[in-house]
């Protein structure tokens, strides 16, 4: 009855559904209570992890026929990240939608389903259940993007929907082929089976699954749907999508990479992912520099930062186990750093847009004097993304550069440093404008304190994690 794993999935479904029936006012209160409970559960789950990896059969029906939840260090960390980002954003969303009612009606139920999908995804122990959670996640995200209103957001949502459906469709066919080849969908049972020669069906399946997940993670060249969707959605929605949703499909790619080694983790595939990641970093950063609107800049920044995540795969495949271990820890830290920092950045951008009434970077002169806390939050988030000490981003990049040098992959080092410089360029582009003296009087709507302080909290968390990375459950136990 008090099992935290099941409650992490059931609780958001419950409060989401009740929020749908009661409307946004009570829905917000329900959401905040629900998310607080979920955060407590996620923390409890990370404590529970000290006992080792845990498998739990739902309803007592074990694999291969039953649905299994599997908990290890990576799952517990991702669960913690989800709740840690979702709760401040929910606190942020309430005053935001009080000022901007557009999109607030269905935000709370969709947030409930989104967090339910994320929690279930991080806990799922079989690949078919993962398909279901991926679809739920996709539909909830599309709903959130479309709720922003306006034909641009709607078009972006439809494009996102088709891309995500294409991705899930490819993933499902991969699952079907894997079932055909091995007779089971449970990850725990598949992992030893795939050690040796994989039949062609398994290689094809792995390719399909990878393609589907890459579409959902918006890795170059599949990134085209992300900037309009994340740039056009309401600020709390953009923060959730950039901070959490893209991480979910990256987590799955990582999970498949380590669980299904022989068929998926060919060095060629690893190098391809590394190349695409590099291209994403460069392209995303250059496009971010060219943007005129603040939210579009942050959205392109997400495209670039996703590239960093995919630099993990060359480090996993082409190096000694100890180096791969360091690279994995570094990437988990990077996932946390980026999730918190990007959420903070979108929150700050949304606050600026609310106060200034517009989104244009050029017209942000004098904002720093009017909105010091908000710009400070933006700057701190930028510090993490750039990789300046003492932030978590710095620690992650440091470890990644260390791993790359140990593995002999010095081009990755160059890419990491270059990426940091490009990130600095577009962060400073915004900060410079904000710190310039305004020529005429700047009109600024009064900003609810909550908006600024939640953004600042998220940014401080991303920096503080670098000082105390021990808070992460880490990768101690790996399934």
């Amino acid at each position: 009855m008090t099992d935290p794993l099941a409650w992490l999935v059931v609780l958001p479904l419950l409060w989401g559904s009740v929020a749908f029936m009661t409307g946004p006012v009570h829905g917000a209160a329900l959401g905040l209570v629900g998310l607080t409970l979920q955060l407590a559960l996620a923390v409890a789950v990370s404590q529970q992890l000290a006992g080792g990896i845990e498998f739990q059969a739902i309803g007592g029906w074990a694999a291969p026929l039953g649905i299994e939840f599997a908990l290890d260090g990576l799952s517990a960390s991702m669960l913690l990240l989800t709740q840690l980002v979702a709760l401040p954003l929910a606190i942020y969303a309430r005053p935001y939608f009080a000022l901007h009612p557009q999109g607030g009606d269905y935000f709370w139920p969709l947030l409930g389903y989104l967090t339910a999908a994320l929690n279930a995804l991080f806990l799922a122990g079989d690949i078919f259940n993962l398909y279901v959670t991926l679809e739920l996640l996709g539909l909830a995200s599309v709903g959130l993007v479309a709720s922003g209103g306006g034909s641009a957001a709607l078009a972006a949502a439809i494009r996102y929907l088709f891309v995500t459906l294409l991705g899930s469709g490819a993933y499902l066919l991969g699952v079907a082929l894997l079932y055909g080849a091995y007779g089971t969908v449970s990850l725990r049972m598949l992992t030893p089976l795939l050690g040796v020669d994989a039949p062609n069906a398994a290689v094809l399946a792995a390719g399909l699954i990878l393609a589907g997940l890459l579409l959902k993670t918006a890795l170059l060249p599949f990134h085209f749907w992300l900037p309009p969707a994340h740039g056009g959605a309401p600020a709390p929605v953009s923060a959730l999508l950039s901070g959490l949703v893209v991480k979910a499909s990256f987590y799955l790619t990582w999970r498949f990479w380590t669980a299904l080694p022989a068929s998926l983790a060919a060095p060629v595939a690893a190098q391809l992912l590394g190349l695409l990641g590099t291209a994403a970093i460069l392209w995303g950063s250059i496009m971010a520099l060219r943007q005129a609107r603040l939210k579009m800049l942050v959205a392109y920044s997400t495209v670039a930062q996703i590239g960093y995540l995919f630099l993990l795969f060359p480090l996993l495949t082409q190096s000694a186990p100890a180096v791969a271990e360091t690279a994995s820890r570094a990437m988990l830290l990077q996932v946390f750093a980026h999730g918190l920092a990007k959420a903070a950045m979108f929150a700050a951008a949304g606050a600026v847009a609310v106060a200034a009434g517009h989104d244009t970077i050029r017209d942000l002169r004098g904002m720093a004097a009017r909105l010091p806390i908000t710009l400070f939050a933006f700057g701190l988030a930028g510090v993490t993304l750039m990789g300046l000490p003492p932030s978590a981003g710095f620690l992650a990049k440091w470890l990644l550069i260390d791993s790359a040098l140990s593995a002999g992959l010095w081009p990755l080092t160059v890419v990491l440093i270059l990426g940091g410089l490009l990130t600095a360029a577009y962060v400073f582009k915004v900060l410079r404008q904000a710190f310039l003296q305004a020529e005429q009087a700047v009109t600024c709507l009064p900003l609810p304190r909550t908006l600024e302080w939640t953004a600042l909290f998220l940014a401080l968390a991303s920096v503080g994690l670098g000082i105390h990375p021990g808070y992460l459950p880490g990768l101690a136990n790996w399934r």
């Binding site: 996709g138 539909l139 599309v142 079907a176």
Partner: protein
């Protein structure tokens, strides 16, 4: 003479490819939705073919197909609802070409 599961698998693969290409290439939104459904049907055919491979029928793929159908129905409903709203807003049943890339 091709065995029945192989026939299902080939038909399913062909439908999947046709559907996927259709989702990407068609401009009209309802056609995209239809192509997505064809793609889903292809995957379900592959699963059904897998179910009848060994002598006795394996029911796990059937369960997966049913779940997949339910998910497709929900996704199709969302896609159609959003497309209809876009039609009401812009008067065109197509995604606008992106101004900036």
């Amino acid at each position: 003479m091709t065995s029945s599961p192989l026939l299902y698998a080939l038909a399913g693969a062909a439908l999947f490819v046709m559907g996927a290409v259709g989702v990407i290439l068609h401009a009209h939104l309802v056609r995209k939705v239809l192509a997505f459904n064809v793609m889903g049907s292809g995957t379900f055919l592959v699963l059904v073919g897998l179910a009848q491979r060994a002598g006795a029928i394996d029911h796990v793929p059937h369960a997966m197909v049913l779940t997949g159908i339910v998910v497709s129905v929900a996704a199709t409903a969302l896609a159609l609802a959003l497309s209809r709203r876009l039609l009401n807003m812009t008067g065109v049943m197509e995604l606008p070409h992106e101004g900036e890339r």
